[in-house]
């Protein structure tokens, strides 16, 4: 069953590469949250109840509801509609995401040992690579936040891959980190949005001067 969610997760990454609209990004993030919930639900029920509930809350509530909702608010307030042309055409992004998926799958086959749940590693690695790539190719600061969240989802999966006790702590830290990040960036965008109509990273360098 976990494999099923893993595959869906891989497909969401392809859609991320294909999409150009901010709204679609948010929507995809919410779906990823749901998929992560599915992953956790079907694979972690052996661990302690408290941890289990915690993770469920985190994936279902935070990842698929709170964060997307918050981002949507930011989007609405700033009238963000669409990315300007990313630095690399979408056509190539799709090819790149596919290659990163293949590499990631092959890597997890190569790495498999008893300490690691390579199931999660497959898309976790691809997700992190793609998140970084996503940040690189987009100009809009809002999309950078989205890329950050994609990486975060990847890290979440990676922490599932590494073990069962450790990840909670890792995750907690990451979660807080991201939460703060989103919050700060959100506020920041809100403020910047008033001065700059289009929230582009290029404009930020102007802000420094």
């Amino acid at each position: 069953m976990t494999d099923l969610f893993i595959t869906f997760y891989a497909i969401t990454l392809i859609y991320f590469a294909l999409s150009e609209r901010v709204k679609k990004f948010i929507w995809l993030l919410a779906i990823q949250g749901l998929i992560l919930f599915g992953v956790v639900f079907f694979s972690l029920h052996k661990i302690e109840l408290f941890d289990f509930i915690f993770i469920l809350v985190e994936t279902l509530l935070v990842k698929s509801i709170v964060v997307p909702w918050f981002l949507d608010e930011v989007r609405k307030r700033n009238h963000l509609k669409r990315e300007h042309q990313p630095y690399i055409p979408v056509f190539y992004s799709i090819i790149i995401v596919v290659i990163s998926l293949i590499v990631s799958f092959m890597l997890s086959d190569y790495l498999h040992n008893d300490q690691m749940h390579t199931q999660y590693f497959t898309v976790a690695f691809a997700s992190i690579i793609f998140g970084i790539y996503f940040i690189i190719i987009h100009k809009n600061i809002f999309s950078h936040v989205v890329g950050y969240l994609i990486i975060e989802n990847g890290i979440f999966l990676l922490s599932l891959a590494v073990g069962s006790a450790m990840p909670l702590m890792v995750n907690l830290a990451v979660l807080l980190d991201v939460f703060m990040g989103v919050l700060v960036l959100g506020i920041f965008i809100n403020r910047v949005g008033n001065t700059f109509k289009s929230v582009e990273a290029g404009n930020l360098s102007k802000l420094k001067d």
């Binding site: 069953m1 494999d3 099923l4 595959t7 869906f8 891989a10 497909i11 392809i14 859609y15 590469a17 294909l18 055409p89 979408v90 056509f91 799709i94 090819i95 995401v97 596919v98 998926l101 293949i102 799958f105 092959m106 997890s108 086959d109 498999h112 749940h117 390579t118 199931q119 497959t122």
Partner: protein
Amino acid sequence: MISILLIAIAALFFTGIINKVKAKIGGRKMPSVFQPVYDLIRLFKKGAVYSNTTSIIFKIAPSVYLASVFTAMLFIPIGNLHSLLSFHGDFVFFTYLLGIGKFMMIIAAMDTGSGFEGMGANREALYSLLVEPAFFILAGSVALFTNNISFQELFLHLHMSSNLSIIIGIAAIYVLMYIAIVENSRLPVDDPKTHLELTMVHEVMVLDNSGFDLALIHLASWFKFSIYGAIISNFLIQVQWPVYVQILSFFFIQAVFAFTIGILESFRARNKMEKNPQWIIMLSAIAIVVFLTALIITNKIILH
């Protein structure tokens, strides 16, 4: 042999159902499901006008096109009903056979020396080239999954037993549906209803065809739809079902397929032309995920 008949019958209703669904959603009075068939019959009875610019290529292309689609149809089984022709790697032949029809249609469009038709031919050439890998990767995944390389055996051995094979099924149906849409130039790649030549793909390619030739072309694209519908239905029909159930479910699935396309066409706008390539290559990307899944199922990638 029966499978060809079934596919041909389904083809006749396909466009009618799509139109009916679209009309219903748009709140218009519905044309009869048979309307496209009537139109076709009328076309078969008509004379033709040929451009002075055109050569033999233009005249023979529709026949070759329909022949290629018709011959391709011979390879498609339905459940237990065997196809007329079947051999190892027949889906390669199938794809290239459709390719020869496309080749002829493209050069026939260029034969008219019209800017419009050049445009259509050019678009068709690009899109069909982009969509080709998706079909091969999908076929490869299923071949890997079932260890068979002909349509007949692929589907006979396709058992949706585990969770992962369900993914293969869903994703394959999804990709196939969109391949059918690209191949037949429907929304969101192309809109057959938009009235201006400048935005169309397939319709503008056949702008100069008339009468019998045009009827052949229409018939070929119906068959094409029905062929893909049949392939999709094979993913769902189980061979252990009784034959009549198989036939009924074949028609049911074809109808659902047409219905889905009708709904899709009502509720979304078409792509911007320059976005089409990336949208089409996405199908190959999803097909690759299917391939990876097949690798997991066959324990080529060992995960735990």
